[in-house]
């Protein structure tokens, strides 16, 4: 059997990337939100676009600490995603690829298998790590033997080495810093230094996305941020949305007091680069863990030595944090300085860091062996959940 397209769901802890393999993916918030302005209406997934005033938004997330915990929320968001309102699908005639976190807990794995076969009438299911799809995507375009996949997402950052297309489990490293920690830290420092924004996760997350960058020389940028007047090229104001004329905040130069534009602003100075810096120095906020470049080296060192060269030559970065300007260059420069001189180092930033794994799903569906990776409904009914455990390398 072979269908012309499959349905790919990269089910992230913050956004889900969803769509048919012959179309473009939609990026859907994987949550239910409630707004102060419309207290009686829950906004599910992309419905948040219909919310006029996003101040004081409150999220209800299916994921906690990177794992699917709140099943009622997830079921509601999935029902929305699979409906006409978002990206309708009939799983009885469309295979499904769904992603799961690395080392996903066994009862969550079982629950996903059960819900898709029994609730959503799935006929062919492939459960897979998002990093596997990203590696597949990279290998199809680079024809390489080994890859180091760096997935820097909402809940954490994973570094996963692959040798001959196979995940090398002993080399997998997790840093417990992701977009969530960065936004929480920005909220915390701004609330202490300027204005209480503790209930404005949504807006501050946008402020982070619009304002932050990865420093290439941290101490020098600190020195610049200390300067007064025009010599400080880092300090900016972030104009907060008011939901009448401004729907999304933006960064602007500081204006003189007499030309104050009467907009509510947050002053962003060293925050602009000390927030993403946590990905490189988690210990800056007391998380006793290595940063990304050091963790890449730690991961490679755990792999067979004969693969070191090939791994260093094929490092690929994806996930929402990779969008910070300067992210790739910083990773490259630090890995370069940590690696032995006679090795080449190549670091690739995914073209679209958010949908890179989803695009890998598209590629794997074209693999001649695709159906051998899946579990079919008949197999599930005959052999039960044990087969899914054997076949899927989560």
């Amino acid at each position: 059997m072979s269908e012309s397209s499959c349905y790919i769901l990269d089910n992230g802890g913050y956004t889900a990337k969803v769509g048919f393999s012959n179309q473009e993916p939609k990026v859907v918030p994987n949550c239910i939100m409630k707004a102060k302005s419309e207290r009686r209406r829950p906004f599910i997934g992309s419905q948040i676009d219909e919310c006029r005033d996003a101040s004081g938004l409150f999220y209800i997330l299916p994921f906690q600490r990177g794992f699917l915990i709140n099943w009622d929320t997830q079921k509601t968001v999935w029902d929305y995603m699979f409906s006409k309102e978002c990206c309708p699908v009939n799983f009885s005639d469309t295979p499904l690829i769904i992603t799961e976190p690395l080392f996903n807990f066994s009862s969550i794995q079982e629950a996903i298998t059960e819900i898709f076969f029994e609730e959503y009438d799935c006929t062919s299911l492939l459960r897979i790590n998002a990093t596997d799809l990203a590696e597949y995507n990279y290998r199809k375009t680079h024809n390489n033997k080994c890859t180091v996949v760096v997935d820097s997402g909402y809940s954490f950052t994973y570094i996963v080495p692959y040798i001959n297309g196979k995940k090398y489990r002993d080399g997998i490293r997790r840093i417990d810093v992701g977009g969530k920690v960065l936004t929480n830290h920005l909220k915390e420092v701004l609330s202490y230094r300027q204005l209480n924004v503790m209930d404005e996760t949504y807006v501050i997350n946008q402020a982070k996305e619009d304002s932050c960058f990865v420093s290439q020389d941290f101490m020098q940028d600190m020195a610049i941020a200390k300067k007064k007047g025009s010599e400080n090229t880092i300090v900016k104001d972030y104009v907060l949305p008011d939901y009448t004329s401004i729907r999304r905040g933006y960064l602007r130069d500081i204006v003189k007091p007499d030309e104050d534009l009467e907009q509510q602003t947050l002053r962003l100075n060293n925050e602009r680069f000390s927030i993403p810096e946590l990905l490189f120095h988690p210990s800056d906020v007391g998380i006793p863990q290595m940063g990304i470049p050091e963790a890449i080296m730690h991961s490679i060192a755990a792999c067979p030595e004969e693969n070191t060269e090939n791994l260093l030559e094929n490092i690929v970065l994806y996930g929402g944090n990779v969008l910070f300007p300067g992210f790739r260059d910083r990773v490259y420069n630090e890995v370069r300085s940590l690696a032995l001189d006679h090795f080449d180092v190549n670091v690739t930033k995914a073209d679209n860091p958010v949908t890179y794994a989803w695009e890998g799903g598209k590629q794997i569906f074209r693999d001649p062996d695709f159906y051998s990776f899946c579990v079919t409904r008949e197999e599930y009914e005959e052999e039960g959940k044990a087969l899914a455990f054997e076949r899927f390398d989560i």
Binding site: K75, K84, L102, F103, E119, R169, I172, R174, M198
Partner: protein
């Protein structure tokens, strides 16, 4: 009760090691929170119930009643802590979720002023927080230091 008098009395107290560690742990836990605030209107009745989404295009192949979100909440109810514990018996040998966590960095720790975020050279004696200048120390003593108890 800020101000000079408050400061003078505070100064005699010093946070012990355990309290400092507790405070540091709380700060890290706060950073890992998924939902900072409780649902402020959990008790409000939704005028629109969470909608029943129309079944996708074609008619269902099997006659079956779709189960509610609530059903799955009860069916798969397990906390993160339970799952971690369960995993210790399911995947007792590394590599597993616990073992994949990266160890501490070999590079020296850096220190930043708890008030302004710039590099700091000084440590507050009562609580161990870092500060960069007399001005920031003053702010720290007036606002945090021993003012909030962890």
């Amino acid at each position: 009760m800020a101000g000079v008098r408050g400061r003078e009395t505070d100064r005699r107290k010093v946070l012990d090691d355990a309290a400092r560690k507790r405070r540091a742990r709380k700060a890290v836990e706060a950073l890992e929170q998924d939902n900072f605030h409780e649902d402020p209107h959990a008790d409000l009745v939704m005028s629109k119930k969470v909608p029943k989404f129309a079944e996708s295009n074609e008619k269902p192949t099997r006659k079956k009643k779709s189960k509610s979100a609530e059903y799955y909440k009860l069916r798969f109810r397990k906390t993160f802590a339970q799952l971690v514990e369960e995993d210790a018996s399911f995947r007792p040998e590394p590599p597993n979720y616990m073992s994949a966590q990266v160890p501490p960095s070999k590079f020296p720790e850096r220190h930043f002023c708890a008030v302004c975020g710039f590099p700091s050279n000084y440590t507050c004696i009562p609580c161990g927080a870092r500060y960069c200048s007399v001005r920031c120390l003053g702010t720290h003593l007036d606002t945090r230091c021993l003012k909030w108890t962890a």
